[in-house]
């Protein structure tokens, strides 16, 4: 009996945004008479940091300090429509809405400043809360002065509105799955390497290290994206080895009703986490951003499973990877049941497969899979006399 070490790898990809209803987000911005900027967006901040990121986008785009920006997502009376904070869309999709609104505000600031300075707007720029003449930085006026002039001299309100929409939801061809347009806003890519220790006596898996590389598009705020990645890593760790709503699935019994009986990872389980953040700007995201919040828990479970195989030579393919499952796999291996069936070109890790029962438009040859059953008519009942997973006839 011993402790074995192993390393495993997993590579993932994941979409930003979604395809339902065009995935809209809207925002609007107004400027107070002293140049301070009020952003109204409907994006809930669930801890992901969208208040911060969207405020950064607005400050950058208008050209005012970050602390001039006030962000209000508090209610649906004052904030326009945002589909919501999910599908990794708050930075990319909702961020594009505030970006477009901020561009309009900037244009209007330039238009008023142009009249005040009697200079073509094309020759003006906004930065750090001041409008200045390109090449002649001495000639400038503050955005606060521009806003004051708009309010008290020109009788104007400096506002902007913006909306992001994928025009028309993606239409899916029911036969082939082909879509008429991208059902996402971007795709991001990542990989994880896990290092584990496996105790072959107890079945305990100790995850020592998780190393990740994420294509983040653009680090809008590096600290915040690190927070998403680290939080996702631990959620992926929980999925990999700890968490299960139905410990005896498919039974619905023996569920855990709080943190002492449903095992969310704690600091005690925290592995060493190292990340490489790769900038690969997207073409359509604000400042090249992609959304990576969700994919951050997708790579760890398989990386851990593959590391366990590297350590002790068994595949655990049912999650989470509990000590019981590791021990069962080790027992199977000791008893000579650990290897797949290898016959000719066929390598079958699992004999009990229902895949052949559910569709049979393809013939596979006798060496690949059990004989096909008839294609079940759409919406109709399946042949009751067959085991759904093996396709075998039940007696």
């Amino acid at each position: 009996m011993a402790i074995h070490r192993g390393k495993g790898l997993a590579t993932v990809e994941y979409p930003t945004g979604m395809n339902q209803n065009g995935d809209p987000s809207q925002a609007w911005i107004k400027v107070k008479p002293d140049g301070r900027v009020d952003v109204f967006s409907g994006t809930a901040d669930i801890g992901n940091g969208s208040k911060t990121i969207q405020s950064q986008i607005v400050a950058e785009t208008i050209g005012v300090p970050y602390d001039w920006v006030t962000y209000d997502n508090s209610n649906t009376d004052s904030s326009p429509m945002c589909t919501g904070t999910f599908a990794s869309r708050a930075t990319f999709v909702a961020g594009n809405a505030v970006l477009k609104a901020a561009r309009q505000v900037r244009e209007r600031i330039l238009a008023v400043a142009s009249r005040e300075l009697e200079i073509d707007p094309a020759d003006l720029e906004v930065a750090d809360g001041a409008v200045s003449v390109r090449g002649t930085p001495a000639k400038s006026m503050g955005v606060d002065e521009v806003a004051g002039a708009a309010t008290f001299v020109h009788g104007e309100l400096l506002t902007g509105d913006g909306a992001h929409l994928n025009p028309g939801a993606a239409i899916v061809d029911p036969e082939t799955g082909e879509v008429d347009r991208p059902p996402h806003a971007a795709i991001s890519y990542a990989a994880c390497s896990a290092a584990v220790e496996v105790d072959d006596e107890t079945g305990d898996v100790h995850v020592l290290e998780l190393t990740h590389v994420y294509d983040i598009g653009r680090a809008m705020n590096p600290t915040l994206v690190e927070g998403q990645i680290e939080g996702g890593a631990v959620m992926g760790l929980g999925f990999g080895v700890l968490e299960n709503c139905y410990p005896y699935y498919p039974s619905a019994e023996h569920r855990g009703g709080d943190m002492s009986t449903y095992h969310v990872p704690t600091m005690a389980e925290l592995p060493e986490i190292r990340n490489v953040l790769m900038e690969n700007p997207s073409s359509g995201g604000p400042y090249g951003a992609k959304g990576i919040g969700e994919m951050a828990n997708n790579a760890q479970p398989a990386a851990i499973a593959n590391a366990i195989h590297d350590a002790v030579g068994v595949w655990v393919t049912e999650f989470p990877i509990t000590p019981e499952r590791v021990l069962a796999a080790l027992d199977a291996k000791r008893e000579g049941r650990g290897e797949p069936r290898r016959e000719g070109r066929v390598v079958a890790f699992d004999e009990e497969m229902s895949i052949n029962r559910f569709s049979s438009t393809i013939t596979w040859g006798p060496d690949v899979a059990p004989p096909m059953c008839a294609l079940r008519p759409a919406g109709g009942p399946s042949p009751a006399s067959q085991d759904p997973f093996t396709g075998r006839l039940n007696q």
Binding site: T76, G84, T176, G177, N221, A252, F349
Partner: protein, 457 residues
């Protein structure tokens, strides 16, 4: 650029560390009532009687809400996307999962509300329950879902399966040197945000309702509440945007509509905060996925084709499961380019809590299955795991299962970087690979039709 890219602190950080951030449970209203739900004790039963008169007569009880109080009882979260509604806000004729809400009581205290719930008389005739997706297709299986039966049957063209067909899978399997099959099962996971679901609904003097919500999606939830209550968006003001964690579990906040109804009926502000046990045992979680993969592989390590079957255990009602399965189908090749595909996916209903979104929705289990399978195939081939993945990685302009050309895939660079970060040795050939559009050795005959014409993401 100075603001974008800067390590600025959280906009709301000072509030968070000083206890000043106001979450929904911190909202206090004069005269506020507290709510508690009566939930189904059975996994599956017919409701034979429902009598709330004793509860209504109890001291301190101001409103009891049942199915009869809900203007639009049956609604679906994807109704806007053309997917029929299937879930009653409160159970009427049947309960389809243990924990399903049957009634809501608003009373002076939580204790009084719970006592009133206990006084509600419900007659149940227990029915056999279905938990095993493998049995859902049997003729004698209990019927779980009134609208769809035991599996969703209204994909485009009324198909009961979400399918992907690409290339010539049969030819790919004929040509394969190796055919590797495996089954992967991932579990149900609870989002477990530290803040449980909570809502405070306030009837306003002008007839409007203010709904303080912990939703992740204020406008989505506004639409849901307006639908259940059959009110225009102008009559309801959702207040929120500050959420104590969500992870997908607070997109379909079941608390908002019921609390709003209780406020409307009682004429008083009502708070309904779920206990941790309710959050764990009665709120939507990540659904289990059953995935079977068969890959056709060449001796030199190309994945020529894939056949896959997915059965998603959606729980008792549809919620977002059709969306999740569709997304799953679109991504079932993972980070690889596989030219010949045959995918079938089913959303199957069981008598457990309806599953819902969770971080990585539709894909977390899929990535797990794909990457375990990739590792198995690489080992069967005797190939280095990095080499196998780098060889099959998607390149610029390759097409995805749904025929979108990848615009900026970085799988190659990501893997090279990971190898470098972990000290894994790569050959010169692997170290200098690029994601560029396929040419030469990277464009073998079987991938020529795989290269798209641009215009994707």
């Amino acid at each position: 650029m100075k603001v974008v890219g800067a390590r600025l602190p959280r906009y709301d950080g000072v509030g968070h560390v000083t206890g000043r951030t106001t979450y929904v449970d911190d909202v206090r209203m004069p005269g506020m009532l507290h709510a508690a739900a009566l939930r189904s004790p059975h996994h599956h039963a017919r409701i034979t009687g429902l009598d709330v008169s004793a509860a209504e007569a109890m001291t301190g009880v101001h409103a009891v809400i049942t199915h009869a109080d809900v203007p639009l009882l049956v609604y679906g979260h994807l109704s806007g996307a053309g997917i029929p509604g299937d879930e009653p806000l409160l159970a009427k004729d049947h309960v389809r999962y243990r924990g399903q809400p049957v009634a809501l009581v608003a009373a002076d205290t939580v204790e009084a509300a719970r006592a009133a719930c206990a006084a509600i008389e419900v007659g149940y005739e227990e029915l056999p329950a279905l938990f095993d997706v493998r049995l859902a297709f049997e003729d004698d299986a209990p019927v779980v879902n009134d609208t769809f039966g035991n599996w969703y049957n209204q994909y485009e063209g009324n198909l009961d399966v979400r399918q992907i067909r690409k290339g010539d899978t049969e030819a790919a399997f004929d040509a394969a040197d190796l055919v590797v099959s495996g089954v992967y099962r991932t579990q149900s996971q609870e989002q477990a945000p530290l803040e449980t679901q909570v809502c405070v609904a306030v009837p306003e003097p002008d007839g409007r309702l203010t709904v303080h919500t912990c939703t992740q999606a204020m406008y989505f939830s506004l639409g849901v509440v307006c639908s259940h209550l059959q009110m225009p968006m102008s009559e309801i003001k959702m207040v929120g945007g500050t959420v104590g964690g969500g992870f997908g579990g607070k997109v379909d906040t079941a608390s908002d509509s019921l609390t709003a109804l209780a406020a409307q009926k009682s004429g008083r502000p009502v708070k309904w905060r779920w206990t941790r046990e309710e959050e764990m045992l009665a709120s939507g979680n990540r659904g289990p996925w059953h995935m079977e993969i068969i890959d056709a592989v060449s001796r030199d390590g190309w994945i020529l084709g894939r056949k896959m079957l997915t059965i998603h255990d959606a729980g008792a009602y549809g919620r977002f499961s059709v969306y999740g399965l569709t997304k799953h189908s679109f991504h079932h090749t993972g980070a690889y380019s596989i030219p010949n595909l045959h995918f079938d996916g089913y959303v199957v209903f069981t008598n457990r809590i309806p599953t819902t979104a969770m971080r990585g929705y539709g894909v977390t289990g899929l990535s797990t299955a794909i990457e375990l399978h990739a590792e198995r195939v690489a080992r069967e081939l005797g190939m280095d795991p990095y080499e196998f993945r780098l060889k099959n990685a998607n390149r610029v302009n390759d097409t995805s299962p749904n025929r979108i050309a990848y615009e900026d895939p970085s799988t190659v660079e990501v893997l090279q970087s990971l190898a470098s970060a972990t000290g894994a040795e790569l050959s010169d050939e692997l170290r200098t690979m690029t994601r560029d559009q396929r040419t030469g050795d990277m464009l073998p005959e079987h991938l020529t039709a795989q290269v798209g014409s641009g215009g994707g993401h």
